[in-house]
């Protein structure tokens, strides 16, 4: 990014709002749909004020019916509009699963109809939401050809990736982490920018171990990396940013440099994205590897509600530290 005259700091949440606002202003085909996004401004207030600014046909409160309104977004997208659909919580995306995987994902392959739309999915735990307000559903869609998936970890990426998602000619699921909404801030460039889909970002360079992650876990990774640095273990933090298509070049490049890899995510361990990357490394970078590929992820359970349970469930800096020590000693 070119340096720019800067504005005041914005939160991750505000960055998302800005992206929506800018894209709606830039392109009148862009419109929003979802539950309570109009007068109320959305459960998390991301679209506060949008109804007044853009009117009820571009900020459309829907009935409580995820399959119905995702389907409607698909139809509108095929007619040339650029719908951005909000799931009130990512957890409710299961209700629209069929429309996403069978219709949106397959239309172009089957009969050549592009479906340029975005589904915003506020996901993740650490907010005492329990089993139905903390889910990480990306693993399901990761395994559904025809969808692009992004999951930003910073305000900068949040804004730039959402703009890219809206401009993409394909269905994109945009996983925004609820835990980060008001917890992180950054100063964003004043001029327009886009973060291209498909490019990972090295959030911390390091030589000893590649720690590959995305979403809120990036911050945990950076925290752990700092602590590990004091012990002389130099961790490289790879923020995937885009989950589909994976940026193999950056991932493989990092691992071939460090020879050691840890996958970290908040989605359940079995069948998570970490499994795929580990499998790719074991297949395509085997000769670079100097130790086992470790994975840090929650156990295979729903996300429990009570604080001690959720704390146990979520990855911790100490998990990363012990994995890194083990691998460093390998």
């Amino acid at each position: 990014m070119t340096t720019a005259t800067t504005q005041s700091e914005v939160t991750y949440l505000e960055a998302i709002s800005q992206a929506l606002d800018e894209e709606m202003t830039r392109d009148e085909r862009v419109f929003l749909m979802g539950e309570d996004i109009g007068a109320y401004g959305g459960a998390f207030k991301i679209t506060e004020g949008f109804l007044q600014k853009y009117g009820e046909w571009r900020v459309l409160d829907t009935p409580l019916a995820e399959s119905g309104f995702v389907g409607a977004a698909i139809g509108a997208a095929m007619m040339g509009l650029r719908p951005v659909v909000e799931m009130q919580f990512a957890d409710f995306i299961s209700c629209a699963f069929d429309q996403i995987t069978e219709v949106a994902a397959k239309n172009h392959y089957r009969w050549g109809a592009a479906v340029p739309m975005v589904i915003r999915a506020p996901f993740g735990g650490g907010v005492h939401g329990g089993p139905f307000h903390s889910e990480c559903p990306e693993g399901w869609f990761f395994h559904s050809p025809g969808l692009k998936l992004v999951a930003p970890s910073t305000p900068y990426d949040a804004k730039g990736l959402l703009k890219a998602a809206i401009r993409d000619p394909n269905p994109v699921i945009y996983f925004e982490h609820k835990f980060l909404y008001r917890r992180i801030k950054a100063t964003l460039p004043q001029e327009e920018y886009v973060v291209p889909i498909g490019k990972a970002d090295i959030k911390r360079a390091g030589n000893d171990i590649s720690l590959i992650t995305y979403g809120a876990m990036v911050h945990l990774a950076l925290e752990a990396a700092q602590l590990l640095a004091k012990e002389g273990i130099d961790v490289e933090v790879v923020d995937l940013r885009t989950l589909v298509p994976l940026d193999k070049e950056t991932i493989y490049g990092s691992v071939c440099k460090t020879s050691k890899a840890i996958m970290l995510h908040e989605d359940n361990k079995t069948g998570g994205i970490g499994a795929e990357i580990a499998a790719q490394l074991a297949e395509e970078c085997f000769d670079c590897l100097d130790g086992p590929i470790l994975r840090i992820a929650p156990p295979d359970t729903p996300v429990p509600f009570s604080t001690p349970l959720e704390e146990f469930f979520l990855p911790k800096a100490s998990d990363i530290i012990s994995a890194a020590r083990k691998l460093a000693a390998y």
């Binding site: 409580l64 119905g68 907010v127 429990p304 009570s306």
Partner: protein, 333 residues
């Protein structure tokens, strides 16, 4: 008036018990709200304030063996089914003594032994499930009924349609209700559906439907009794629309500025506790003093429950790993 007459058919003890549960629900949820404002409850906090008559009325109309799939504003049904205020508060506080042992929060409780299907956030998901419970009763030739509900918002979901349709085709013993409180979060009914009464939706299934004053516990009770009797007699499912108003925000964090103040003023006068008191007074079943006494009893129970909940232990972290799968010995095989 027909209703006034009919309420005479309700036993005095039953009506007084319903009044007690109205007060207990109110006292318990007021306590929950207070705890929430003190920051002592984390996560969501949905109450039935001003809508208590619905759950109290229908749960009182059911038999012990019947099964309910309560809605997220049906605290009274949990209480009538034997969930104690202590258990409920333990649930809210994430304690091991709550019905989910800390695995889930707030109204996401259930217990098969007490005939309560655990609430699932995904609205309307439990309607097909309750339909399946009714199917089991029918298959086994049992004279039991399932009673399941959702909000006005929830009726827009496909699972509502699929459940209603299946139940109607197979004439299953299930009563569906909609707790129509005019809003789904911030969404007013007119953006939720094109019909002016939710009960119109029942026509698509040739299902008998009735509009009921949801703030009148006696009306809810009697309408539920009728629908339950029909279902139990093998005449198939029925649908009840309980008209009411959500008097708080969607959840405690929501100031609900989108609701016109006048609407709230109007409905405040129809408060279900007030209405019940008017009825009881009219029937000569109670007076100011007895109402006060019952209210105090309810509050005491809630305080005792809070003590229990507070003294209860939190779960240990590794309990997070327990219970993903059921074991053989939990179900007869």
């Amino acid at each position: 008036m027909a209703l006034a007459d009919a309420t005479k058919e309700i036993k005095r003890a039953d009506l007084l018990q319903m009044y007690y549960y109205l007060r207990l629900t109110r006292a318990l949820e007021d306590r929950v709200t207070a705890l929430y404002r003190q920051g002592r409850i984390v996560g969501g906090c949905y109450t039935s304030h001003g809508m208590e008559a619905i759950a109290v009325g229908y749960a009182s109309a059911l038999e012990r063996d019947d099964v309910i799939a309560p809605f997220h504003r049906d605290m009274g049904a949990f209480l009538i089914r034997g969930f104690t205020p202590g258990e409920v508060l333990a649930q809210y506080l994430g304690k091991r003594t709550g019905p989910t042992k800390g695995k889930d929060g707030n109204v996401h409780m259930g217990d098969l032994k007490r005939g309560v299907l655990g609430f699932v956030s995904h609205l309307a998901d439990n309607l097909p499930v309750a339909t399946g419970a009714a199917l089991a009763f029918k298959i086994r030739g049992e004279s039991r009924v399932a009673f399941a509900g959702t909000g006005d918002g929830g009726t827009s979901r496909g699972d509502f349609h699929e459940a209603m349709n299946f139940a109607a085709v197979r004439k299953l013993p299930v009563v569906f209700f909609c707790n129509n409180n005019q809003y789904a979060y911030s969404t007013p009914q007119r953006l939720q559906m094109a019909v002016s009464d939710v009960v119109e939706r029942a026509k698509a299934y040739d299902m008998p439907g009735e509009i009921v004053d949801g703030n009148d516990v006696a009306a809810v009770y009697l309408a539920s009794k009728r629908a339950i009797a029909q279902a139990r007699a093998g005449k198939g499912p029925a649908f009840l629309e309980f008209k009411t108003m959500r008097m708080h925000g969607h959840s405690e964090h929501d100031p609900a500025k989108y609701v016109p103040r006048e609407l709230l003023e109007e409905w405040k006068k129809k408060d279900p506790i007030l209405k019940a008191e008017q009825l009881l007074t009219q029937l000569g079943y109670g007076d100011e003093a007895s109402f006060h006494e019952i209210g105090e009893r309810a509050k005491k129970e809630v305080e005792a429950g809070l003590e229990f909940a507070e003294q209860s232990p939190l779960p240990e972290g590794q309990e997070a790993l327990e219970g993903v799968f059921a074991t053989e010995d939990e179900v007869e095989s």
